[in-house]
């Protein structure tokens, strides 16, 4: 039997909006791909580009960074910093030979469980089409 390829995704979710949004997906029993692993951070602004690169180096096929919607950041503006930071990093990823589509930045509020599950579904589908991220294994 052919084993269907399931991409490994790391999700950095801010504590106040997106982590609670993912909780809401759970409470509402909306299932999504099991290979998504969530790491809680205080704010999307805490996510250092090095942490993202570390994920790829360690075998992740995709990285999702999710914070509060623009204007709703619990810390006022951390998500704006994240947005700028990862717009830059995405370009840099291409340069490294990692498809920039493997890094996504999304906004999910605490009430958007459904939206979180939908984002995961579309991201994993896209990653499955890209196939395993082999290139970056040679990074480290």
């Amino acid at each position: 039997m052919k084993v269907e390829y399931q991409p490994k995704v790391i999700g950095f979710l801010c504590n106040w909006c997106s982590y609670a949004g993912a909780d809401m997906a759970g409470t509402s029993r909306i299932s999504y791909a099991p290979n998504v692993r969530i790491i809680r951070v205080p704010c999307s602004g805490r996510v250092d580009p090095l942490l993202v690169l570390k994920c790829f180096q360690r075998g992740a096929d995709g990285v999702l960074i999710s914070g509060c919607h623009p204007g709703d950041c619990h810390y006022t503006e951390g998500n704006y910093h994240a947005r700028r930071r990862f717009a830059l990093l995405r370009n840099f990823l291409d340069y490294l030979g990692i498809a920039k589509e493997r890094l996504r930045v999304e906004w999910v509020s605490a009430s958007e469980g459904q939206r979180f599950a939908e984002i995961v579904a579309s991201f994993t589908t896209e990653l499955a089409e890209l196939g395993p991220c082999v290139k970056e294994r040679s990074l480290g």
Partner: protein
């Protein structure tokens, strides 16, 4: 460094986790991981025996790190942190692995779920290895409270707090407190006169020694955190000196200019210098600058001539007031759906199509008709139709149910029956009488001879087909079950327009750093167990700004928020974030990137050392600075790079 000794506890959560995840296998797996001294699984870790188990193990096995793999940390992190503290550990020795909300509840395949739970436990084990004890800091709680919004919610909360001798700043943007409740004629199901039950509370607010009422004012800026917030409030110019005004009302009588009254929902008129209604608190009028002849054309000043107290002050300007408070209660209320958007209902086209709130004014003794239910031409309607669910339970506008419309439509029906001989039709999709004694009220109305017609209204048209005709109207409704179409003739149509979030709810949310749900209402901390607090400590939401609700529910929620505030005041101190950032001055290059990123101004540059330093009292621990520091000199405590890296490695094993 002391030896790391980790205890791992896998919760079954009844069948919530164990029904999907092989908890025994996860526990066995955890036992094989580095530094794990003990791994157990148990039916309910949050139960008393579960908590005792952890406490006992900490003492007997000398554990210095604890991991519980169970629900979301938003649920039980405080519980298990306390268990650790009671057993003598620092609360930051604890880590939670979320294998319920993020695993068992979202994964169908049992094998995959177990694999995921193992990865999450592995990550927690690796992470907790790098945990360090953090110092718990406490700050005093300012005993003043800011309440935003002076409707029944804000009034109730203000009185509860002020009655226990604690100062309240009550901010209301309109010239008087009272909110929507003071516009209502009678209230369901008791038929209490709304003003009769509200005005005693309003006057109590007005004269309370512990309440400072800031009417005709708006909150512009809020900074700080639980225990010590600072708020900037704009007191708009009334052009009437509150100190001098005696509230005699002569100015209103003498003012020669009339405009449409907002309070009467456009059905009546008011003067340009006005109090919105006779029982206004404070009883101090406001000059409506936009419509004032003196302000617009430079002539008139009639009010000034007749004011014996010399209270009129055309030179008055907006004033900015700054207050310091420990807690904030948000009670900003609602607005009603504008039915003119949905043109099929004929609102704005036919004179005798009005909203539920307009009907309240029509029915009220202080309203434009002195309480007579009459058509635009002054005649008594032969039949009145109350149309439910206008803009609510409607996929084109709002999906939610506005909760109060069924009941007030019944109440309106009773009043129509009482005051006129009209036929009354209720055109409804479902009748929802959920509250105490509400069902009895419904049965009473059935007996009173109200006609109930099931159907979603498709359109309201003129009986003779002419657009401009202001006579008899025809309501066409379709039964949602069998698509049967019914036509009901009526002289007056009352539209039960949805309760919706205030137009500027988004601005308010930004000012206060609170969130809104997709439907626009403010988001509470937990929909069932914490429907009063928000994700921002020290800020509470009450009344219809949190979601549509009736008066009893609003009052309960307001009292609950007041109790929460009083609890914090009585405790006198509050813990603040211990997971702040710290800068290693040896590594800092003094580039000052962090200083400009910090949203709290918590980072300052030390000139003589040419390094940056964090003021921990101001730092909230967002970690943005740590992510941006090019020299890696900044550590975001409890979310250190080492800890997150270890977690990444753990989940990817």
């Amino acid at each position: 460094m002391e030896e790391v000794r980790i205890g791992v506890y896998i919760c079954h959560c009844g069948s919530n986790i164990a029904g999907t995840v092989d908890v025994a296998q996860v526990s066995q797996y955890a036992g094989t991981l580095d530094s794990v001294v003990i791994a157990r699984d148990y039916k309910f870790m949050c139960s008393e025996p579960g908590q005792e188990m952890i406490g006992r193990d900490i003492k007997e096995l000398g554990l210095n790190r604890v991991i519980v793999a169970s629900c979301s940390p938003h649920m039980h992190e405080p519980t298990f942190r306390r268990v650790c503290e009671e057993a003598g550990l620092n609360r930051y020795s604890f880590q939670m692995a979320n294998i319920r909300e993020h695993c068992s509840w979202v994964t169908e395949d049992h094998e995959k779920a177990t694999e995921k739970a193992q990865a999450l436990v592995q990550a927690a084990v690796r992470r907790v290895f790098y945990h360090e004890p953090l110092e718990i800091r406490e700050v005093p709680v300012n005993s003043n409270t800011l309440i935003v919004g002076g409707g029944i919610a804000g009034i109730q909360a203000a009185l509860e707090i002020a009655d226990s001798y604690h100062k309240v700043y009550l901010v209301e943007r309109e010239p008087s407190i009272g909110g929507h409740m003071i516009q209502l004629d009678k209230t369901f199901p008791t038929l209490d006169c709304s003003a009769c039950i509200l005005t005693p509370k309003m006057s109590q607010v007005g004269s309370h020694p512990y309440i400072e009422l800031l009417s005709y004012s708006e909150v512009e800026e809020v900074s700080g955190y639980v225990g010590s917030f600072k708020a900037k409030i704009r007191k708009k110019a009334r052009y009437v000196d509150e100190e001098k005004c005696t509230g005699c009302g002569l100015c209103q009588e003498k003012c020669p200019w009339k405009v449409t009254s907002e309070f009467d929902m456009g059905l009546g008129q008011r003067k340009v210098i006005y109090t919105p209604f006779p029982q206004a608190v404070p009883n101090v009028p406001v000059i409506d600058r936009q419509n004032c002849a003196y302000f617009q054309k430079g002539k008139c000043r009639a009010c000034e001539k007749f004011c014996e107290a010399g209270a009129i002050d055309f030179e008055q300007e907006d004033k900015l007031v700054e207050v310091e408070v420990g807690n904030i209660i948000v009670a900003t209320g609602f607005q009603t759906f504008d039915p003119s958007i949905a043109t099929q209902y004929g609102y704005g086209k036919f004179d005798n199509v009005i909203t539920g709130l307009q009907f309240e004014r029509l029915c009220n003794a202080t309203g434009p008709t002195g309480g007579n239910i009459q058509l635009k031409d002054g005649s008594i309607p032969r039949s009145v139709a109350l149309v439910h669910c206008i803009g609510s339970r409607d996929e084109n506008y709002h999906d939610y149910c506005s909760r109060v419309c069924c009941m007030y439509a019944l109440k309106h029906s009773h009043l129509i029956k009482e005051k006129t001989n009209s036929m009354v039709y209720q055109i409804f999709t479902d009748i929802r009488c959920f509250g105490k004694d509400y069902e009895d009220f419904y049965q009473r109305l059935v007996k009173e001879g109200v006609n109930f017609v099931r159907g979603k209204v498709q359109q309201v048209t003129s009986a003779n087909g002419k657009e401009a005709d202001q006579g008899r109207l025809i309501i066409t409704a379709e039964d949602p079950d069998n698509s049967k179409v019914t036509q009901v003739p009526a002289d007056m149509v009352v539209l039960c327009a949805a309760i919706e979030s205030q137009q500027d709810a988004n601005e308010v949310a930004h000012i206060l750093s609170i969130s809104r749900k997709a439907d626009g209402f403010f988001l509470e901390r937990h929909p069932k167990l914490d429907p009063v607090a928000t994700m921002t400590e020290g800020i509470y939401v009450v009344g219809c700004c949190q979601g549509p609700k009736d008066i009893p529910d609003t009052v309960s929620q307001a009292s609950a928020a007041a109790a929460r505030v009083l609890a914090l005041i009585s405790k006198g101190k509050v813990e603040i974030e211990a997971a702040t950032s710290i800068i290693d001055e040896e590594k800092c290059s003094g580039c000052r990137i962090c200083e400009f990123l910090c949203p709290y101004g918590a980072i300052s540059f030390i000139e003589d050392k040419e390094v940056c330093r964090v003021n921990e009292a101001l730092c909230k621990g967002c970690g943005t600075c740590a992510a941006a520091c090019p020299s890696g000199a900044i550590t975001s405590k409890h979310f250190t790079t080492e800890q997150i890296m270890a977690e990444i490695e753990g989940v990817l094993v």
